[in-house]
Every structure is written in C-alpha cells, then in structure tokens.
C-alpha cells in the first residue's frame, strides 16, 4: 500500500472542543484530540504509550453527542476523556468552558489528595510532580479533610532499586500497566479493595501468576525476589506522583538543581536516547528520552542506572608512565613521548597489535583504524574482543559495513515473523525486546537456542532447540513452519554476535535469508560494534566495507588519507593478536576499552607484551599492567556518534564539559609524535573523511563468507553455552549495588538427562574446562537440549572468560556438587 492510499484510507471525525472545531482520525481519544488544539486536560493515568485505563478520573469533561434523531444529547455526568473515543458531531466542554467539568475535576483532585501525605518537601518528585502541578492548577487551595490519613509503612522495596511509597500512590496503574503491557514482567499489581487498595508485589495467595510460576532460584533476582525486571526503572519515570522512586537517586537532588543534557546510551547497540541529569559536574540520574524511531519512551535499567562506573575512585585524571616498575603520574607531553618511543621501537621490531574494544564511538574507532594503518603500519587491529571468526569479518564486510539503514526497529515491529539465532532479545538486545513484544500475538517468533529463555518466553517464541555449534546445520536444514513463516513479506532473521563462534552459521543464515526472502539484521551487544565495522577496525576491513586485501580498495583509501600505501599483509584478528603478544611475536599492544577479565588470555598477553599503551577511563586490569596509560573521556564527557544496529547514526554532544580527551584526540596527538598526521583532531574532520570515503563498491568488498559447518560433538560430550545477562558484573555496571541487586541470580542450566549423566540432583554443579579450571554455581534443571550446560558469562560467581578460561561452544565436564 502506498503512502497516499494510506492517507486516503484514514477515516476522520469532526467534533467541537471548547467551541473549536477539530478533525481527527476515527478512534482518537478525546484527550488526544484536545491536545491537538492546545487544550490541556489534567490527567494521571493516561500515557500515550499505554492502553487507556480510566483509573484516576482526573480528566473528566462534559460530553454531548448526537443521538439517533440527530439532536445533541449530553451525557448525564462528566466522562473520562482518556477512555472515550471521539464521534462525529460530538461536543466536548473541558474545565475551561464547563463549570460542571471544572467542579468534577476539583472534586476528583480533592479525593486523590485525601490520603496523599503531602510530604512534597521530602519527596523525590517534588518540583517535577504532575500531582503537585495539577493540584496547583486544578485543585482547591484549601483542604476540607480533617481526619487521620491512611498510613502505610514506607518505603516498600519492590527490588533493591525500586522503592514504593504507597501513601503517595494515586492508583493510576501506570506502573502495573507498563509492567504487563510493555515489559511483560508483571511483578506488581493492584491488591485489596476500597480505601486499602494498594500496589504490591506479587503474593501467590492473593493473585495469580499470569501463567508464570517462579522456578526458584532461576527466576529470582540477586536479592532473592521473584519477578525481577530489566525495565523496572521506566515505572519510576512514568509514575505521576512520587510513589515509585529509585534507591540510586533517592533524596540526591531536586529538579531545579539539575542540568539536563540529551545523550545516547553507551550500554547496548540499540543507541537508546537518554537524558543525563547532572549537578555540579556529577551525574545524578539518567532518564529515557522519547525517540519514536528507536527506543520510544523506554530504556533498560542498565541504560538508566549504570553510570557511576565513570566516576569511581579509580578514574584516571592524568597520564601514567611506568618508571622503575611503578606507574606514576606524568604530564601529557611526557606520557605521549614515552608512548611514542615505545611504539616506534615496536613498530620497527616485531610490530604492534591494536585492540580498540567494542565500546568506542564511530569517530574513535576510525582514529584507531587509521592510527594502526598509518602510524603503526599494521593491519593487526580488531575491536572484536569476543568470539569472532574470519567468516564473520567477511560477513560484516560484505553485508553489514556501510550498508546504511537496514532493518529498523519499525521493521521489527511490523515483521510477520522473526527468527533469532545466537541472540537473546532481553539479555543482549535491551529495547529490541520491547519492540518485539509490542507485536506479541501478531508476530511469529522463532529462537534458535539451547533453551527457551525468559525473554524468548515472554515473546511467545517457538524454540528451535540447538546446542552451540549446531546452528549452521539447523539453519541449513530448516523447513516446515519456520521457513513458511519466514517466507512472508517483511520477515526478519536476527543474527547475534555469538553466531560468529559457529563456523558456517553466518553463511547458513545468509543463505536462509536468500532462500526465504527474509531480511537479515546483525545485532551485536556492545554500543560501538557497528560503528567499528563502519570505521574498519578489523584486520581485513578498511572504512566503508573495503577489503584490506583488495589493492584497488587500499589504493583508494591511501589516496584519501594522503599516504603512499597501506599495509597489505593480512592482519591478525583479536584472538591471534592476543596469542602473538603472549608468545612474544608482537612487541607492543595498544589497548582501548577492553577489560582483561572479559577476554581469555588478554591478561597474559598484556603481561608478556614488551610494551603496552592503554587508553582508559579507569585504572582497569589492563591499565594496571600497561607501560603508558593515557586517560580518555567517558561517554558523558565527550561528543561522538554511536552507530546502532540498524545502521542509524546516533550522535551525541558532550553532557559534562571537562578537560578529558576523547580517544580520537589522544590518538591524533600520539600519531604526530610518531611522525604521522591522522587529520583526526576534531569530529568534523573525521566525519568529513568518512563521508568522503563513502561505501565501497561491491568488487572492493570481501567475498561473501563460505565456511563449512563443524562436526557435531561426540555423544556424551557436554558443550558449554553462555551469554551475558543484561545485568551482570560488566565493567560498565561497577559501583551500582542497587542495580546489581536486580540482576537475575546466577544459575547453571542443564537438562534432566545431562544432570543425570553428571550425577546432579540438587544444589550446586561444577563445570570444568579443558584447562582444568572450574566454576561451581547452583544449578537448575531446565527443559533444554541434552549435552549442553549453560552458564551466564559474567554474573556473580560465574566469570566464564576468566575463571573457566574456555570459550562457549567448547566441550566441558560437568559434575554434581560444588
């Protein structure tokens, strides 16, 4: 259907509000129609993203509509404008024109305030409170209530982060409706009746569990409560009174103290719009900004609460240089000279490896790529400090890099069917999950995973059971329902970054997309991954998807960069750089935002490499071992662009102006000292170059990947499956204990048969890797693929990369008991 046809198909209705005629689409609510002509009706429960509820009754207006005889007939009593749809010829009189409506609204306000404690001076919402504001604009100035108010114990902690003050609550049910409709985590609901009606946590004896029974401890959060939600912070933001507050922001500040700066979240590849509220250079809270094309009104709790990492006591403010075995503070010129001297020696020796990490902005990634190729003369650069493969690089170069806006959030929402492979919507996608859940019931969702995770379950997804390593075979052999559903127009196949671990899987996904006509979307986990692909921080990829092995592509980039030639040797990928540094085949490393505990072998590599330059925000485990540490700015203190998984450029400005330098600026200075000019001193310069380079034509791109599927594991072997839970012990969530408490409890998952074979019945389970190191955590018998054990990647007590030392997909031994 074309856009014009769409427009013509919209039926409109004309009505009169406060004497003004307005024409709106059929089905519009009166309150929305009034907004369109600038008439504001007070409201609490009404929220444009939630279904109408009519719970607070604050929006009462006088309504009259034509009866069957065509004469205007008034409703006997004022009606709630947030639940009533407009009809042709309706006449609405709001509080501005109808004394009756005004009287009704004042009456409702008086009723709502009867039990309200009026503790505005203590309340976090004071100063930005819809109840406070509307009580001033639409309420009586004096109270007539002289009796004792209802008293509840306060606050009631719903989780370690979310606190409920029931005295302040006006029972608008925005929070419960959000939890049910949007997040699918019905962790609170209305309880009791009459004057004692209140919001409360689920009590099995009072309410039903909405089909979901907590299977302890798998469904519990760290504090032992059931129904933890990754999106609970949104309820605090939409609460129209101060009933829901967050422990992190509680009593910290007042709205008039805060300076608000718009920004983009650094936590996942969705590029959610956020608002950073800060006071005297200190971030106090972050809120969701409304961006209809990306995150709508919502963000994850990680986006909202995980910001204190950048201002912990280990924050680097001045460069550090190692002198006599100790890291000591040094001036910028001294540190830059020391770094340049070390890198120059290594460049002329065995070479330098560059690991920018997946969290930097597009501009920073571009500077890293150019720095490696122009200043260090190497292709040994890779931002993928995670499971990766050459096949993935070819896939990224051929289909993802510089492909512009591909599948979008809106496409996901409209897709008739979605297949997810190597991707957990809730844990790895954040707001992607909310978009998919918006189409619950209208969309067929398939997930290829060892078991149906809680997120997939909430999407009513059908499980295509598969052990790690079997994805390629599964996709190649896929038929029946799934293929039929994916053949529908607009279907989407989502591939996660974890799919790179299985040889042939990305090839199989691409061929399935061709076979069914479905569109392919690559959704990585970290915020900088897509931008790094665009900027070419891969050993075989130059900016714009150009293959580093292609002479024409190289010549083109060399000309644009004003250098004679670019390195033509095949570069090492991240795993090879780490191995080479450990073995002494590389003389130096330049490491960006990478945590050693996230990457197996990196700690060894950093310890063994002759010279290490670390560009870090904090004294991380890598910085601690480095020879020169150059402090860089955290996202709130710099400007830049994240490219989200859609390929959408998400630019953000500096929220808090400090003298911290962004990575690109530091690399630009360092390159000068090395005798190369990166022309990467400003964002404008970098974006100008990126735009001039543009996308590579097809012949200059890497070939479409082709890899064979691996052999199936032997019978009786147990394969490790693992992914990051959204809230875990990642470095960007440090220093936020309240958030950590809402994370899901660490459990291992095994099937009944696997548990039996391992001799496990109850309690803890021990997983041992090939290196002999092991992890013991409580285990839960799950309905899942046999021969697989699942562990969270970096949850408390389960740091797979550091403690187990093996990658997901490898064979491990499993034994019952600790």
């Amino acid at each position: 259907m074309t856009a014009t046809a769409d427009k013509a198909a919209v039926e409109t209705v004309t009505l009169t509000i406060d004497g003004q005629e307005v024409t709106v689409p059929k089905g519009t609510l009166i309150i929305r129609a009034a907004e369109q002509i600038g008439v504001e009706i007070p409201r609490f429960c009404d929220h444009p993203a939630l279904k109408p509820a009519g719970a607070c009754r604050q929006c009462l207006v006088d309504v009259a509509s034509p009866g069957p005889d065509g004469n205007l007939r008034a409703f006997p009593k004022p009606q709630a404008s947030c639940t009533m749809a407009v009809t042709e010829g309706m006449v609405v009189n709001t509080q501005h024109t109808s004394e009756e409506a005004d009287r009704a609204q004042k009456g409702v306000m008086e009723l709502l305030l009867i039990n309200h404690p009026l503790d505005c001076p203590v309340c976090d919402k004071g100063g930005e409170c819809p109840l406070q504001n509307q009580a001033m604009s639409h309420g009586h100035s004096e109270t007539r209530f002289v009796d004792v108010k209802r008293i509840f114990e306060k606050p009631l902690p719903l989780s370690s982060e979310i606190l409920l003050d029931r005295e302040r609550c006006v029972l608008c049910q925005r929070c419960t409706r959000f939890s049910k409709e949007i997040a699918g985590d019905a962790f609170i609901d209305l309880q009791n009746r009459g004057a004692m009606q209140q919001i409360g946590t689920f009590n099995e004896n009072v309410l039903d569990f909405d089909g979901y029974t907590p299977a302890a401890p798998a469904a519990e959060d760290e504090s032992g409560r059931a129904f933890s939600s990754y999106y609970s912070g949104n309820t605090v933001q939409i609460c129209p009174v101060g009933a829901l507050t967050s422990a992190a922001y509680r009593f910290r500040s007042r709205p008039f103290d805060l300076v608000s700066s718009p920004g983009i979240s650094e936590h996942d590849s969705s590029g959610s719009a956020i608002r950073t509220d800060h006071r005297r250079g200190k971030i106090l809270r972050r809120l969701a900004d409304n961006d209809p094309v990306v995150n709508e009104d919502w963000i994850t709790d990680k986006d909202r609460f995980a910001f204190s990492w950048q201002n912990l006591s280990d924050r680097l403010e001045r460069p550090l240089v190692r002198k006599d075995g100790e890291l000591v503070e040094a001036s910028w010129p001294e540190a830059i000279a020391a770094a340049a001297a070390g890198l120059k020696a290594a460049r002329d020796g065995k070479g330098v490896g560059v690991l920018p990490g997946g969290r930097v902005t597009l501009e920073d990634a571009y500077a890293y790529g150019k720095f490696a190729r122009v200043a260090l003369g190497t292709n040994d650069i890779d931002h993928r400090t995670r499971l990766a493969s050459a096949e993935e690089q070819a896939f990224l170069g051929s289909t993802v890099a510089a492909s512009g806006l591909g599948v979008t959030f809106a496409d996901l929402e409209k897709a008739p069917s979605v297949l997810m492979v190597g991707f957990e919507p809730e844990d790895e996608g954040g707001v992607v999950f909310l978009r998919l859940r918006k189409s619950l019931g209208k969309q067929k969702v398939f997930t290829a995973a060892p078991f149906l995770s809680r997120g997939a379950e909430k999407l009513a997804a059908s499980l295509l059971p598969v052990a790690p390593g079997g994805e390629a075979a599964l996709l190649d052999g896929l038929d029946g329902d799934a293929v039929e559903a994916l053949s529908a127009e607009g279907a989407v196949i989502i591939v996660g970054e974890r799919l790179a671990a299985t040889p042939g899987a990305l090839t199989a996904a691409a061929s399935l997309a061709t076979r069914t006509g479905a569109r392919l979307a690559w959704i990585p986990r970290r915020a900088g991954e897509r931008g790094a692909v665009e900027a070419g921080t891969l050993p075989g990829l130059l900016p714009g998807g150009r293959a580093a092995t292609d002479a024409t592509a190289r010549a083109g980039v060399a000309e644009a960069w004003g250098v004679d030639s670019l390195p033509s040797t095949e570069g090492r990928d991240a795993a090879a750089i780490i191995a080479a540094a450990s073995a002494g085949d590389l003389d130096a490393l330049v490491v960006g935002g990478v945590t050693a505990s996230d990457v197996t072998g990196l700690a060894d590599a950093v310890a063994n490499a002759g010279f290490v330059v670390s560009l870090e925000v904090r004294r991380s485990d890598v910085a601690e071992q480095a020879d020169v540490v150059l402090p860089v700015a955290p996202p709130s203190e710099k400007a830049g662009t994240f490219v989200n998984w859609e390929g959408r450029l998400r630019s953000f400005a500096t929220a808090i102006a400090t003298d911290a330098l962004s990575d690109y600026r530091v690399l630009d200075i360092l390159a000068r000292e090395l005798g190369a000019d990166l022309h990467a001193g400003t964002i404008a310069e970098i974006n100008g170059e990126l735009a001039a380079l543009g996308a590579a034509p097809a012949p200059q791109r890497p070939a479409v990947p082709a890899a064979k599927a691996p052999k199936a594991p032997k019978k009786g072997d147990v394969v490790l499956a693992s992914w990051h839970q959204l809230i875990d012990e990642g470095a960007l969530q440090d220093g936020e204990p309240y958030l950590a408490g809402t994370g899901r409890a660490t459990v291992a998952r095994v099937s009944k048969a696997t548990a039996k074979a391992a001799g496990f019945s109850e309690g803890a389970i021990t997983v041992t890797g090939a290196t002999g190191e092991s992890i013991s955590v409580p285990a839960v018998i799950t309905d899942m693929v046999d021969g697989v054990v699942w562990l969270p990647t970096k949850s408390p007590g389960s740091w797979v990369a550091q403690e187990l030392g093996v990658a997901p997909g490898t064979v491990v031994t499993v034994k019952g008991g600790a």
Partner: protein
C-alpha cells in the same frame, strides 16, 4: 575637524562668556551674612547638650532588635534530632543563590532527623546572603531560623561559607547529639507537632551502645564540662 574638536570649540565659546553664578538658595539677611563663617559652630554647641548616640562597638556590643536578620541557625527537636530534612526549599527560595544543600536517606544506623530524609550537606555562603529571610519563610519544618548574630566578617572567602556544623543550634540541656533513633512509636509528624518533648531511655541506650564516649550522654556530662574548660 573631528566631532571632538567641534565639541571643544563650542565649550570654549560658552566658557568665554562672562556669566555670573546665581544661587537658587534663599538669600540671607545682613546679620545672617555676617555670622555665616561661624554658623557651623552653632551646630556643634547645640549637640554638646544632647544625649550621645555613639556606640562603643566592639568594646560594648549592643543587642539588636529581637527580629533582626542575623546569622542563620539550624534548629533541633527536644531530643536532639535535627529539624532539617534537606528538602532544599530554602535554596529554592534564595534570591542570591547563597544556600547549597545535599540530602540523603536516614538509615537505622544513622538517623539524623525524624523521617526518611536529612540534610547531609548544608552550606550558606555569607558573601552572597542578603539576609532577606525568604529561606526562613520557605522552611517547612522550621529548621532554619535567624539569630541576632551580626558579626559576619572574616579574613577569607572560604571561612564565610558556613557549613552545617557552623549553623547547627547548640545542644541544650537534656538534648542528645544526633544521630540516634527516633522516640519509639512516633512519626515525623509527632515531632513536627511538638509531641516529642524529651530524650527517652531507648535513645540513651542506643547511644550508649553505639557511641559510649558521646559527651552529651548524662554520665559523660561532667567529663565533657571539664574538657571544655
């Protein structure tokens, strides 16, 4: 010729005119004109016989009027808990932006004021304060009042930013230094209405357990007085 030169020309031409000065004051009679040179002594003589108004500050300090707007004070309840809840309404009301407040949560281990919230940081910058008293009007718990103290000068700028400990009212007889728990069974409302009139034994017990050396405990009073001497 420039504009400036032209102006100068005009001025010189005007000054060149021989004009005599005419005063607007009433002209004195001949007697007045004769005594005019010594008229000032008359004023001096007259004041010899009037009461003196000179204040011998700083040797003699005169108390100002009872409602004089002097230095601020953060008051306490009868049991020693602070009245300030850190709501920042004073900072909001301040037209000179002289007040800075940061609040925090009261916890069972650190109950500073009744209720959930207390003022952790409280600063008044007396270089900015204009003593208008709007902060006192804004205070919802009557925590902030003004004293009659007017000696607010100092050699440093830092010294004129008064911190919470500089502003807190001294502990009166029978008060117990915060933090300590509220009187059992009371709410912040009871405190506000003045229903709490003294320290109870549960509060004394708590302080004895947690801060046995607290000088405001009755048993330590003698010791504290000696130390103060």
């Amino acid at each position: 010729m420039s504009d400036a030169d032209e102006t100068w020309e005009v001025n010189r031409a005007r000054d060149g005119k021989d004009e005599t000065f005419e005063s607007n004051l009433p002209k004195k009679g001949p007697l007045g004109q004769a005594f005019a040179p010594v008229a000032g002594f008359g004023i001096t003589l007259r004041n010899f016989f009037k009461p003196t108004v000179t204040e011998q500050y700083p040797r003699v300090k005169t108390p100002p009027m009872p409602r004089y707007h002097g230095r601020h004070q953060l008051n306490r309840y009868a049991d020693g808990l602070e009245k300030c809840i850190g709501c920042e309404l004073c900072a909001w009301a301040c037209p000179a932006d002289a007040i800075y407040v940061e609040a925090d949560s009261n916890t069972p281990d650190n109950q500073v004021s009744p209720g959930e919230r207390y003022g952790r940081v409280y600063q008044i910058n007396y270089l900015r304060c204009i003593f208008c008293g709007l902060c006192i009007e804004a205070c919802p718990t009557r925590a902030l009042t003004m004293t009659n103290e007017y000696e607010l000068a100092g050699p440093t700028r830092e010294g004129l930013i008064y911190e919470k400990q500089d502003l807190l009212a001294p502990l009166e007889e029978g008060m117990l230094q915060a933090p300590h728990p509220m009187v059992p069974g009371t709410t912040d409302g009871d405190y506000y209405r003045g229903d709490v009139t003294e320290v109870v034994k549960e509060q004394l017990e708590w302080v004895r357990t947690n801060r046995p050396d607290e000088p405001t405990l009755p048993e330590n009073a003698a010791l504290a007085a000696e130390e103060a001497r």
